[in-house]
């Protein structure tokens, strides 16, 4: 069995009286491609915040390659190979696209080994994402779709083992969605990076990932192959009365 890169055990997050994440277990192994779905407010993004160190879990442990990182600041998670994107792109608007990518390379990615030459420098990362021609454009001037791609490029700069993608396909057209799904597949296949992908567009996600986690009201209610999860009673019930049904 492949090594476990990132593990969350019994992770809970409470904000005052509200339980955003409730005892979630998650293991991400090398080269895994995992999807996380769930209705709005299911705790998906909060889970990502804990996995990247931005929110300290109220209970539970987090470890990266067996090293306990619970309660450590975000830059430590990044340095250990966990990189992420944000739902609304948080690029450095006044820096060029290239400088945005170089940022991760200068810090989290600086001392990290990178087997694949797509990670060599900012130029090659931008080329991999199809952003080469906008390298010297200030990030704030890029289209929203390109800013989303650049978000991924910034995370690549950290030369991660695990990439956490938070709704990178939100607001994309059907066609762009297809391209993004393929890109995510390539990230895993060609670069060998494990990916955890949160998405509302369940259909596109189910077509790409090998394993799906379903969150509902902060709890994990299903964890398995897309085919299995799609038939799960609890999942169907969670989705009734609002969101599109899975698959």
């Amino acid at each position: 069995m492949a090594d476990v890169l990132l593990a969350a055990r019994g992770v809970s997050v409470r904000f005052g009286g509200l339980i955003a994440v409730d005892g979630v277990d998650l293991e991400v192994s090398e080269r895994e491609l995992i999807g996380i779905i769930g209705p709005n407010g299911a705790g998906k993004t909060t889970l990502f915040h804990t996995l990247s160190g931005l929110v300290r879990p109220t209970a539970g442990r987090l470890s990266v390659r067996g090293r306990d990182l619970t309660g450590r600041p975000p830059h430590v998670f990044a340095a250990h190979g966990v990189a992420r994107t944000f739902q609304t792109p948080r690029v450095f608007r006044e820096m060029t696209a290239e400088a945005n990518v170089r940022f991760g390379l200068e810090f989290a990615g600086r001392r990290r080994a990178h087997p694949h030459d797509a990670f060599d420098d900012a130029r090659s990362i931008l080329a991999f994402l199809g952003l080469a021609e906008v390298a010297s454009v200030p990030a704030g001037a890029l289209t929203p779709a390109r800013q989303r791609l650049l978000e991924i490029g910034m995370a690549f700069g950290a030369r991660p083992d695990v990439l956490l993608l938070d709704e990178v396909a939100a607001g994309l057209t059907e066609r762009e969605l297809e391209t993004t799904a393929q890109l995510i597949r390539r990230v895993r296949d060609e670069l060998g990076v494990a990916v955890v992908w949160i998405e509302h567009a369940v259909r596109a996600l189910m077509g790409v990932v090998e394993r799906v986690l379903v969150l509902h009201q902060g709890r994990k209610i299903a964890d398995g192959s897309p085919a299995l999860v799609a038939r799960d009673r609890a999942v169907i019930e969670a989705y009734l009365g609002g969101e599109e049904p899975p698959a």
Binding site: L54, P73, H75, A83, F86, M95, F107, A108
Partner: protein
């Protein structure tokens, strides 16, 4: 301009300016000292506050601490040690304070740094009153005017050179990232806390050293004179009017401001400050990127080349 070229240019300019004591009259020399003092202060302020957008009003505190190191040490310590010591004391103070307050942002940080300056001033006043029974002291043994001038020049040149190096360094990149989006910078591996403390302390070092070097120009030193909030305020104004995101902006604006101040302030003190206030308001409203943004506006194409040109100053739109 690359960091190396900026450092060389600064060194060359300093060499030229070093001839001033033998060429200029006393009046012009003291004018030059004022220019250099504000140039050094504004550049060191912009070193940290420009990229991070943290509006620090602590310059007066750093400057005053440096000045007090001189006040207490100039009679016994070697001159160079006084100046370096002033810088170090200010830097250590900034690092300690920074560790406690750099998580605050916006108006909180501005108000707090201002309060810190006043706190230090009153603490020193209280301390002097309790232990020496008098506030302030007369400096009897001071270096000659040429030495003072060369020291101020040295501190200012060092501040400019270090600022140029920082801009091109990882520290500079990290500070720009913190100004752009601090959390994002963290998730990309920046220990933002450490970087902010380092930047804040480095910036404080030069303000402290400048305070230590300039202090001997006053023969009588007391807390209201050297912790004068006006010094800190004017530094911020100079840097922001020049364009805090740039290196040349604060430098140029320091020269203009100091000349303006020295000539007009004594003759028309109230009208001068009235005009200054109006000017400040108009600039913030209509030219928030500082004077440097005028220059940049004229050559927008050149900007695309330098990848790390980075974030704007605190007032950049």
């Amino acid at each position: 301009m690359s960091a190396a070229r900026a450092v060389v240019a600064t060194g060359a300019a300093a060499l030229v300016l070093a001839a001033a004591p033998w060429l200029l009259s006393d009046f012009l020399l003291s004018l030059t000292v004022a220019c250099l003092m504000y140039a050094g202060l504004a550049v060191s302020w912009a070193m940290f506050s420009g990229p991070t957008h943290y509006l620090s009003l602590a310059t007066a505190a750093f400057f005053g601490l440096g000045a007090y190191v001189t006040a207490w040490g100039v009679a016994t310590l070697p001159w160079a040690l006084c100046v370096a010591g002033g810088g170090l004391v200010a830097a250590v103070f900034a690092a300690l304070v920074g560790a406690a307050v750099l998580h605050l942002r916006g108006a909180y940080f501005a108000v707090l740094t201002f309060g810190l300056g006043e706190l230090v001033r009153h603490a020193i006043t209280y301390f002097e009153k309790s232990y020496f029974r008098t506030v302030g002291r007369v400096l009897t043994k001071t270096p000659d005017a040429t030495t003072v001038y060369l020291t101020v020049l040295g501190v200012a040149a060092a501040a400019v050179a270090v600022a140029a190096v920082v801009r091109a360094s990882r520290l500079g990149l990290a500070l720009r990232g913190i100004g752009g989006d601090e959390e994002r910078a963290q998730t990309l591996g920046v220990s933002t806390r450490r970087m902010k403390i380092a930047g804040f302390a480095l910036s404080a070092f030069f303000a402290g050293a400048m305070g230590a070097a300039v202090a001997v120009r006053w023969t009588y030193i007391d807390p209201p004179a050297v912790f004068n909030p006006f010094i800190g305020l004017q530094t911020v104004l100079i840097a922001m009017v020049g364009g805090a995101a740039t290196l040349g902006g604060p430098l140029a604006s320091a020269v203009v401001f100091s000349l303006f101040t020295e000539f007009l302030r004594l003759r028309f003190p109230y009208a001068f400050l009235l005009v200054l206030g109006t000017l400040l308001i108009v600039l913030v409203l209509y030219l928030p990127g500082g004077l440097a943004s005028l220059v940049e506006r004229r050559r927008p194409a050149a900007a695309a080349g330098g990848a790390a040109r980075g974030a704007g100053g605190p007032t950049r739109g």
